[in-house]
Amino acid sequence: MISEGKIAEKSMDMIEININKDVLVVGAGFAGLDSAAKIAAQGYKVVFACKDAELPDSGDEFKKFVESGMVEIMTNTSLDDFSGVTGDFRATLAKGNERIKKNFGAVVAAPKYSFEPLNADYGVSLNGKVISQTRMEEILADPEEKEKLKAGDGAVFAFFNGLARELDPCSTERALRSILALQDIENCTAYMYAGNVKVASRGVERLFTEARNKGLVCFKPQEIPVVEQNDDYVKIIIQDPVIRKDIELDPDYLVIDELMNPGQENIETAVNLRIDADLDGFLPSNNVHRFPVNSNRDGIFVAYSPNDAANVALRVKELLGDGIKKVPMDRGVVDEKRCTICLTCYRCCPHGAIFWDNGAAVISTVACQGCGICASECPMDAIQIGTFSDDDLNENIDKAVVSAENDSPKILAFCCKNSAFEAAGAAEKFGIAMPAGFKMIKVPCAGKVDVELVMRALVDGADGVMVAACHEGNCKAEKGNIYAKWRVNEISRRLEAMGMDKNKVIFTNIASNMAHEFADKVNDFALKLKS
């Protein structure tokens, strides 16, 4: 039943292209220097550009690469202009009044984040005794101040972490690193008052265990602790729910946790590089189909935590290799004669794979992922997607509708090859019954299903059309499922305006492992169409 309606994927012709092997690392965030060093260690030349006048303390490895010329440092430099696609990015770097043009094969963004101490959450103000996590790190970085901590009986530190709101593992990690550093200083002890200790990041669990072993005392208070403070005194009071007694501590320092803010630099980086941020404004946007350091644009990576540097270097190597890349010849092709450079495709491509040149849109065959969103949005039908051309799809729709059995409603389902198509295949293997009139059309992404295709199926005589996509936030093409949903809603609206049943077309989310659910949805749809 499935095999008939689906498209035989033609084999795609591949071509080899040369790509640029230089890498730009932009931004002096935590992982910038480290990424630059690790990428240079793979044998790629790196330009490290940041707005700061001076670099933070860089390791010996980094210095070695700078001396050998593998890493070029450009301070006081910002990204002025950026274009091109993976393997061939064109950057204009601004240093004062100077504009320097350079080409790169890959780009790593390491934007700086700003921190906001959460003292207001606890009703305390920062002073010499109540300090922010950032101030704590400054003290630990300064040998003189560190020395002072040893004086007298030593110093007692209390850390607040995620007591008033949920924070992330990065904030836990910062507190734990400071605690471990303090535990190495003679006469210093640390306490931690935490909500949920977030350890879901590489190595954080280990840091926590280590700190505990070295004597860290942890409290998990039911309520936000009461803090009494003046200039030379601070007291923390919590209630122990077991012994039902107040536990008081008057540390030398109370260290307040901090919220990480994406900040201006983050936004600028996203706009310049045309990459998406996640809901909280951090880069890159989340997508389970990508490695966490990959952005929605091929060849652009984001290094954010120290762990990212090593991963970025791996991904860069995978991308650049020896400078030759094999790519499909015609994943997405623009018919220059039809194109009216409306820029719709350029604005809609989730992978930034489209630019324009000589009066027509151009799809980069290296950057294009073949989702087909552009083709579905193009008002001139000027874009064809390799093995999913309009002609092929139209032919398949016609065939599928004609061959569907007549006695039950004819249902045509456009199925994303990453999810619904797999689910349907599994349903068939499990032998789950489907309506007799059910047929499906495989698409590279639900984003390839345009209004025209659905309307064609209806004109051909389909009683119902289903567009099945991955779950929201799970689309390989970032927004293909969202576009598909919008379009189905638009078709429903049009059907209603025509006095027809608007529920003849439905949109649904399906994961590849949801064979039974998929079958249920199709059977439900058939029942509804019958009645």
């Binding site: 039809r338 009216t340 409306c342 949005e377 008002p379 001139m380 345009d450 025209e452 064609r456 305006a497």
Partner: protein, 223 residues
């Protein structure tokens, strides 16, 4: 560019109802860019019409031209025009009229409402910018059109209704002349706001014609 919107289906349906063979004609320029009348909209409209009338009652053809406001492109229809007894045009009002002019014996129906001259803010999102008043004052107004943006289309403003940056008709509507004031002030040429623009002559409007200066001889030779 010219921005248009697809007409409601019922209206289009009513226009073509009595015919047997209808050609839907798109325009590949302005209305394609504003996603109202390019080839995709032509195919979609035809599918809607086919669904509504049933496959056999009316036959719908489709064709999208480069532009409908040029005779040379309209000429492409000469060969097939005879096969149809009515046209539906998805071009702007200008294109539709030129189409009707080329095929005077053919009923021509508009499938879009031509809305304004505007800009592309994002995919599917447009804003009116110019009313084609025929005597552009943008040079005096810091590049902000008072004809389009001012509710009274004042060439010299603001009026007494300007209200802390908003227009008196609506708090959410910025006062065009306040914007003009701000822009000119920021550029240090505020004195220009005092220059009086003579009123535009809106009376007895007939279709305006323009001949670009370098082409006067050419047009004359055409008669």
């Amino acid at each position: 560019m010219i921005v248009a919107e697809r007409k409601p289906f019922d209206e289009i349906k009513g226009m073509v109802a009595g015919y047997k063979k209808v050609l839907t004609i798109g325009c590949g320029t302005c209305v394609a860019v504003c996603l109202a009348g390019g080839s995709k909209e032509v195919e979609t409209l035809n599918a809607e019409l086919k669904l509504n009338f049933g496959r056999d009652k009316i036959e719908f053809g489709s064709k999208t031209l480069e532009r409908q406001c040029d005779m040379e492109f309209l000429e492409e229809l000469d060969e097939i025009a005879g096969d149809y007894d009515a046209f539906v045009s998805m071009a702007c009002g200008a294109g539709i009229q030129f189409l009707a002019e080329r095929f005077p014996d053919k009923p021509v129906f508009p499938a879009v409402d031509t809305s304004f001259i505007g800009v592309n803010l994002d995919v599917g999102w447009y804003e009116e910018k110019c009313r084609a008043c025929g005597s552009c004052v943008l040079g005096l107004t810091g590049g902000i059109c008072p004809v389009t943006m001012c509710a009274k289309s004042l060439f010299n403003g603001p009026c007494g209704g300007t209200n802390n940056g908003s227009c008196e008709i609506n708090k959410d509507q910025p006062c065009a002349w306040f914007k003009i004031y701000e822009r000119l002030a920021a550029q240090g040429r505020l004195d220009q706001i005092k220059e009086i623009s003579p009123p535009n002559d809106w009376r007895n409007q007939i279709p305006r014609k323009i001949i670009q200066p370098g082409y006067e001889e050419r047009v004359k030779a055409l008669g």
